[in-house]
């Protein structure tokens, strides 16, 4: 099993969620986060005083999936999240050691 984690532009959430469900994702967790990457932040101006806002609002998605589905889900996710502009975000994949469905106690692939 793998965990797919993506940090994307907030307005792309609906597209990405739909695309990932279409590619076989059973569930996901969504978090509002802030961060910076190459995009850097943006500038705000109040009464002539400029403030550099370094941390930009983003949405983080986490989903645990079967090893065999990773490639298709990643492809769908990236296609849906991309705008071609700077700040589209990142996606990464990590190994998951163990997973349990709390209600039933099922483990491994059955619990995904």
């Amino acid at each position: 099993m793998k965990q797919i984690t993506a940090v994307i532009k907030p307005f792309k959430l609906d597209d990405v969620k739909t695309a990932m469900k279409g590619a076989g994702v059973q569930g996901m967790t969504v978090t509002e986060v802030k961060g910076f990457g190459r995009q850097g932040g943006h500038t705000e101006v109040y009464r002539g005083a400029e403030y550099q806002v370094d941390l930009v609002p983003k949405v983080r998605l986490d989903a645990v999936v079967d090893d065999g589905d990773v490639a298709a889900i990643l492809e769908a996710l990236i296609a849906a999240a991309a705008t071609g502009e700077i700040g589209d975000g990142k996606v990464w994949v990590t190994d998951v050691q163990e997973i349990t469905r709390i209600r039933t106690g099922e483990k491994g692939t059955d619990a995904v």
Partner: protein, 406 residues
């Protein structure tokens, strides 16, 4: 006063009182979210303490012995003695109207001391300042005191309210010091929608402030109303234009600030000028105050929400240009007309003397009051209280409980 005048001044009093919660929203939106309730509270405290003080002592120190050409009122009205009986209501109406001015003037100072003043210090400062600074200056100008005798004009409080509060604010913040991290740490406004609503309430209430100061339902009230409208609009327009040109964006806070700058500047002039003079006064204030608020970065004083830049500078500007535009055809109280109307420099000089006296007195006496409070109660919260925010540490409340899991 005829019944029309009494009706209008009573309504105006309610309008002016409404400006203080408007000011609270205007300032509250500009603070950081951890200090919003402290800001609202400082303003509402003025609405609670000043009326109590006014009926006991404040009114008599301002308006006792009106017309004496003096420095401070006598004790004829102490505890409202000699006010009752008042079957026509004239004295009561006047004292109520003036009370609303006494409420908002110390409230203006709250914007300069935002984020770091002890509430206990504020609780003592406001009543003491109202008696020792506000009442005397109100006497000089509004009660036929020495500045009125001199010939200086102030229709609705350019000196008594705005220059006074601005100079007092400067004195307090010089003692109080900068907020930790200012100006390197960003301290952006947390809710400009509140500030916009506050601006609208101030604009609305200012019609009572200025047109009500005619103390009659007459042509002068009508002129003051129109002038207030025009100057506010011109101030908002010009501030926006200047910042758009200079900084590249027309900001919401900019148009709000410009409207207030225009309103401040027209205050001393409202019932004394006519024609297109309010256009020049509002526009001039919009431009001048835009640059004036940058002074704090050059001189290093932390005027958190720009009370000095808008109220001291805007009030001074309005009071001085009255020496250019005052028109006896608008108001027979204008004895020496303005320079642009062929009246020479007499009024301009009187206005400058009044401004210097007001600013000097307010600055010095406020400094003494603040020093006394600093030596006893202390003016400033601890660094940890400042970092955690005053809402939690001084008031045990939070302005926003948005992530409530109950």
């Amino acid at each position: 006063m005829d019944s029309g005048a009494i009706a209008w001044v009573l309504v105006s009093s309610a309008l002016v009182l409404f400006m203080t919660p408007g000011l609270a929203l205007f300032y509250g939106g500009m603070t950081r979210s951890k200090n919003v309730l402290n800001m609202l509270n400082m303003n509402l405290y003025c609405m609670a303490v000043i009326p109590v003080l006014w009926v006991v002592l404040g009114y008599t120190l301002a308006f006792g012995g009106s017309g004496d050409g003096g420095w401070i009122g006598n004790l004829d009205f102490v505890g409202l003695k000699d006010v009752f009986p008042d079957p026509t209501g004239e004295t009561i109406v006047f004292s109520v109207f003036q009370l609303t001015f006494a409420v908002i003037t110390p409230a203006l100072i709250s914007g300069a001391v935002a984020d770091r003043l002890k509430f206990s210090a504020w609780a003592v400062f406001v009543p003491v300042w109202a008696l020792l600074v506000y009442s005397p200056i109100a006497h000089w100008v509004f009660a036929g005191g020495w500045l009125a005798d001199l010939g200086a004009l102030d229709f609705a409080g350019g000196a008594v309210v705005h220059m006074n509060a601005g100079a007092a604010a400067l004195a307090v913040i010089l003692l109080l010091g900068k907020r930790h991290g200012w100006p390197n740490t960003p301290m952006p406004p947390h809710n400009l929608t509140m500030t916009m609503l506050g601006t609208g309430i101030l604009f609305f209430g200012w019609f009572g402030f200025n047109a009500g100061s005619a103390l009659a339902a007459d042509g002068i009230a009508a002129v003051a109303f129109l002038n207030t409208f025009v100057a506010a609009a011109a101030g908002g327009l010009v501030w926006t234009a200047v910042e758009w040109f200079k900084d590249g964006h027309p900001t919401t806070l900019g148009v709000c600030s410009g409207i207030v700058a225009g309103l401040v500047a027209i205050t001393p002039c409202a019932g004394f000028v006519g024609g297109l003079a309010p256009l020049a006064i509002g526009a001039g204030a919009g431009m001048l105050c835009f640059f004036a608020i940058q002074m704090k970065y050059r001189f290093g004083y932390d005027d958190s929400l720009d009370v000095v830049g808008v109220h001291l500078v805007g009030g001074l500007f309005g009071s001085l240009v009255l020496g250019l535009f005052a028109d006896s055809a608008v108001n027979p109280l204008v004895v020496d007309e303005g320079l642009f109307l062929g009246g020479g420099v007499t009024l301009l000089i009187d206005q400058a003397i009044a401004a210097a006296a007001t600013i000097g007195f307010a600055f010095v006496v406020t400094m003494l009051i603040a020093k006394a409070i600093d030596a006893t109660i202390g003016l400033r919260v601890s660094e940890s209280e400042e970092q955690q925010g005053l809402d939690l540490t001084l008031h045990a409340e939070a302005g926003y409980n948005l992530a409530d899991h109950s």
